[in-house]
Symmetry: C2
Subunit: 340 residues, 2 copies
């Protein structure tokens, strides 16, 4: 038996058996998702190595709760409320319950949520990650806790990730704005501390270059209605003829700014929104929006998590990203035949 | 020592000590929220009685997680998303984390959620109850798990409950509609299986009687956008000159029906909505709505729960209801000076 200071870990067992940590974990927990013969082989190998799971890990492994956790940065943002509901529906279809935590874009709240979920018996977690929690998330993944990231990505993380690609939607939107001569565009960017904020701004600027446009107006905000309102006011003051919002909450702020300024959308100003929402459709002229197909993203994230839980999907040593293309949904919110 | 068949319960200990079950529970868990001398007295008394807490109760009591649970029937309904966020903010101010479950109006999902929360270490629960889960909720309350109901009530339940009173808002709304000659009113009622659905319909009908009105048009629906759309279409077909929605989701459905029918709200049709939401403000004419002051209700519910957790608030043998009055927020969605 190995000495205490070099006590073998689950990683050693997995390595020696040539299986993923998740599979080794399930085999040690006698989980029937692992074939009987494989379980017996791994358990024998673990005994040879002198592997002893720690109490907490054993408690976690032995108590399948048939419950998953989902961690999102807001529930007032209908994009995340839709995501949560779609994950829950997919989980329900597989016989799993869902519990939810809202981090309110606060990394400390996220850290506490992850600790609670991991230590209070959920079988797996789907998380919109905060970059300040990268280390904790990677550590949970290393411990063999089934984990999938959604919406935002963590550079260099091995955790499977489901994101959307902003480029197709941005290209189609900028192309339409050029056709409508709705320049200059005022783009309301999300925060540079999120992968989505950075990727959408880059995609917008790439789309502008592809159309040989000069750099357009950019307001660097946050994913909040107030920031959308402030940004729209600022961009209108600087002569923007189109307001182009980088997320749902800023789109709501843009609507508020247009209503307050008495601007009729599609007549006095062109607007492009982000994500679909009843608020954007139930306007005198429905908004043209870039849509991320969040339902589809949520279902994909659950499918990956479910594979990890069932042991049919190994936790990859190299991460696989699942990328959904954004699409442009045309409404009636661009000025007709306007010229600069 | 008492024989096994008449094993003393925590209720017996509490009764003998002249304290609430919650206080007895905390004293047995050595919780410092109970004064040292009181703790010692209750523990001695429990030992005399031969009281032994069961393993599960002991595990729950000994592991304060500083986390509360909140159980709501939907997150796509912005009223509940706002409620959850307000509870979470209040809890955060008291150093407590929050986890959320969405029951999707399904009693089985609620039952599973409550079981998960109670057995996985939350310190207390705020719940929008489903009447099919009354027995389970009352049982959790009897076990001494700190529990507060919000939004809907359970007849005869001893659990403290925070609700709104629909009558003041309904009276003000009907009075305004009479002034505007906006009759007949088409009221979109919520489901009769919820206390809110029943209480709002009764309040609407009482307000009509108080104004000596004939019975008005009523559509019995559900708290969903589709039902609001269907109900609005039906009521318009039957000659309603006002559409009056009984919750947020049906208000969204009413907006959808008016937009699709090309009716200009405040010009072709009068609309009264329920609850406040950016969607209702950011219309060409902002909606007049009945508002439940959900933020205030959520804070009240947390204050009661916090009292139970701290042991400063006994779990009452007779329930105390906290009732917030509804208010009418005037927008611009009634037709001007129209006559029947």
């Amino acid at each position: 038996m190995a000495a205490e200071h070099s006590r073998p870990t689950l990683r050693d067992v997995a390595h020696r058996a040539g299986v993923s940590i998740a599979t080794a974990s399930r085999a040690m927990a006698d989980n029937p998702a692992v074939a009987t013969t494989t379980r017996a082989r791994i358990q024998a190998l673990a005994a040879d190595l002198g592997y002893r799971p720690n109490a907490q890990a054993r408690a976690l492994q032995s108590s399948r709760s048939n419950t998953i956790g989902i961690v999102v940065p807001s529930l007032l943002n209908p994009y995340f409320a839709t995501m949560v509901t779609a994950v829950q529906n997919a989980a329900k279809g597989a016989g799993l319950a869902t519990i939810i935590t809202n981090t309110d874009e606060n990394p400390e709240t996220m850290a506490a949520s992850l600790t609670f979920l991991a230590s209070h018996g959920v079988d797996g977690i789907i998380c919109v990650p905060d970059e300040h929690c990268a280390e904790q998330l990677n550590h949970l993944h290393d411990q063999g806790i089934p984990l999938v990231l959604i919406d935002r990505e963590l550079a260099g993380s091995p955790i499977p990730t489901v994101i959307s690609d902003p480029q197709p939607g941005m290209d189609a939107a900028v192309s339409l704005l050029v056709e409508h001569h709705a320049l200059p565009i005022g783009y309301l960017s999300g925060p540079m501390s999120t992968s989505t904020g950075r990727a959408r701004l880059e995609a917008f600027q790439r789309a502008c270059r592809n159309h040989d446009l000069e750099p357009q107006l950019v307001f660097r905000g946050g994913f909040e209605q107030e920031q959308g309102f402030e940004g729209a006011t600022h961009l209108l003051d600087h002569g923007a003829r189109t307001l182009f919002a980088g997320d749902t909450m800023m789109t709501i702020g843009v609507l508020e700014a247009c209503h307050r300024a008495g601007l009729s959308i599609g007549e006095d100003i062109s607007v492009i929104g982000f994500d679909s929402h009843p608020l954007f459709t139930l306007q005198p002229r429905p908004l043209t929006v870039i849509d991320q197909q969040v339902d589809s993203m949520a279902r994909q994230a659950f499918t990956v998590l479910h594979g990890l839980l069932a042991g049919t999907e190994p936790i990859q040593p190299t991460r696989t990203d699942l990328v959904t293309p954004t699409i442009l949904i045309q409404g009636d919110s661009l000025m007709k035949g306007s010229h600069p």
